[in-house]
Symmetry: C2
Subunit: 334 residues, 2 copies
């Protein structure tokens, strides 16, 4: 093969509070010739996700921080263009964690073949990927949702939230969802068909929940923490379950804790956090439910695709703003 | 029987913040003649407990609020002095919720016979009563403690806490406990033999926990909420369990929530509240472990006995102060 160059986006400096454009840097690197067992992949899509903000800071977390000066990482799908591993023939679609770049060289243990006939490749970044699995594990394994229960999902128009809303509806739950813009509320109501949607920036979340669920919530799927967690605690039914999945309200700047946490005693609540890397073994069970539902038209594969590797930093910055820019998974087309 | 009068303590008014003497009133009432199925009981002991503060306020809780003008209620043990129920012969010892008075008339469903040969009657208010059961259910059923784990118990010298400390030690756990006075710390170290005790008013609870458990906590048994909950969250190990049993720091005045609750995600924590009335069916399993351990000298029945019905309000007020006044269960001898 001829010598190839790859473009990549690096962490130039650690953000203080909100990330800004100058925390990112573009670079071009020469790719070496393939060794036996290696494959060259051209990325088609990669996702930008809120959890990446945590990796931009120093300090202990469940994944190591990104190193300043190195390329960023994140979920990506692409096609093999050159291969020295028989398990990965040219033109097969693969999933990896080599996002934020256009080409990369990987080995078998870093790649997973995906079936692009079952669903569009980018769906493996969202509905059928770790994102969808997160929603499924949270509702199925952690909250153990049951038909007829009332479930509140904050950040309902986001990547995980939009899958959670659909899955809870599919299981026969009554779904209340929140988001931060009129366009997202319209999406929740008109496309995800949730039972009640509200804009958490308008009015008091406590009042919204009291109106939407006068008999209280069985389950709260928390993507935000902050005031919505406090409002949800106030509305939990006895023996309710709170799934702590994300805390986007505090990712850039800390937020106060819920002052009403002691309700967990009186109402016998279970509040449980999880991270998806502990639950990857559930992928087959998850896909066994999701792929048939997707093919039967019962699930909407919602994504916002932004073209151009060079636009990834701005897309990531806007993601943490909870603005009007996207619904579902936020994906960069390379 | 001759006409008998009973002395009782009533709620005179609802406390705003800390209870004061004028929230209580003493009264004398005439007791009627016994109907068939009724028994007359002379109380020997009753307990004053932090949860009663919640019942002094109006509003929704897991037990209805005390009514202003009515006698207060709480766990009591006493002896039958006159009986029109064959199941409760004269001089049998019974447990009831008719505390805060010297005599009362009760029926079978409101009374439980206790075995005063197994343990002193007042032990059925503490170690062998709902108090001990609370510690047992929290550690056994909610936290599922295992030998070798590190367990932190706040309010460790209190009624529930002092049983929890002993039970966790009995099960082979490493026990860290906190309290609010030098006398209580001495009690924790010298009598309950905990591995590490600290005064939460001296120094930063976070530093105490980091010193006491540099590898982190498997379990936190929370009797206080407030800053100690925040400190414990900061020290929890991955997959740790937080048992929310009490929140005494906020009973008189609200306290802020833990700002670091989002650690529950990264560390995969389970935070679970419970109230003992849901778990009374566990009493036989509990007594089957506790009575032999008590008779074998492996458990200390710790109580502070204050003589005189008339001293109950002051004892209750001091209880919420976490002062130097008592260790273990706080009991009034009538």
């Amino acid at each position: 093969m001829s010598r190839l160059q790859a473009k990549e986006i690096r962490l130039a400096s650690r953000p203080q509070g909100e990330p800004a454009a100058d925390n990112f840097a573009f670079a071009t690197v020469d790719l070496p010739d393939l060794e036996p067992g290696e494959v060259l992949v051209r990325n088609a899509f990669f996702s930008v996700d809120p959890y990446m903000r945590g990796r931009m800071s120093e300090g202990r977390s469940y994944v190591p921080p990104f190193a300043v000066g190195n390329a960023l990482e994140g979920a990506a799908v692409g096609q093999v263009v050159h291969s020295r591993d028989a398990g990965f023939p040219v033109s097969s679609w693969v999933q990896s964690l080599y996002g934020w770049r256009d080409y990369f060289i990987g080995r078998a243990q870093q790649l997973r073949i995906i079936d692009a006939r079952q669903a569009p490749p980018s769906a493996y970044l969202g509905l059928l990927g770790a994102t969808g699995l997160t929603a499924w594990v949270g509702l199925n394994d952690i909250a153990n949702i049951k038909e007829g229960e009332t479930v509140f999902i904050s950040g309902g128009a986001g990547a995980v939230g939009s899958v959670a809303c659909q899955l809870a509806r599919l299981r026969g739950c009554r779904v209340i969802a929140s988001a931060g813009s009129p366009a997202k509320i319209a999406f929740l109501k008109n496309q995800l068909k949730v039972d009640y949607a509200f804009n958490y920036r308008e009015g008091d979340p406590r009042e919204h929940l009291q109106n939407a669920a006068p008999d209280g919530l069985h389950v709260y799927f928390d993507n935000t923490a902050g005031p919505q967690l406090e409002a949800a605690l106030a509305s939990m039914r006895n023996h309710g379950r709170v799934v702590m999945c994300g805390a986007i309200s505090g990712y850039n700047t800390p937020v106060p804790g819920p002052h009403n946490l002691a309700l967990a005693i009186i109402r016998r609540l279970r509040i449980e956090g999880f991270i998806i890397v502990d639950h990857l073994h559930r992928m087959p069970n998850f896909l066994a439910e999701m792929i048939p539902a997707l093919r039967a038209g019962k699930l909407l594969h919602q994504e916002t695709v932004i073209p151009g590797l060079e636009n990834a930093p701005a897309a990531f910055i806007s993601l943490l703003h909870s603005g009007d820019t996207h619904t579902g998974k936020l994906i960069i087309r390379v």
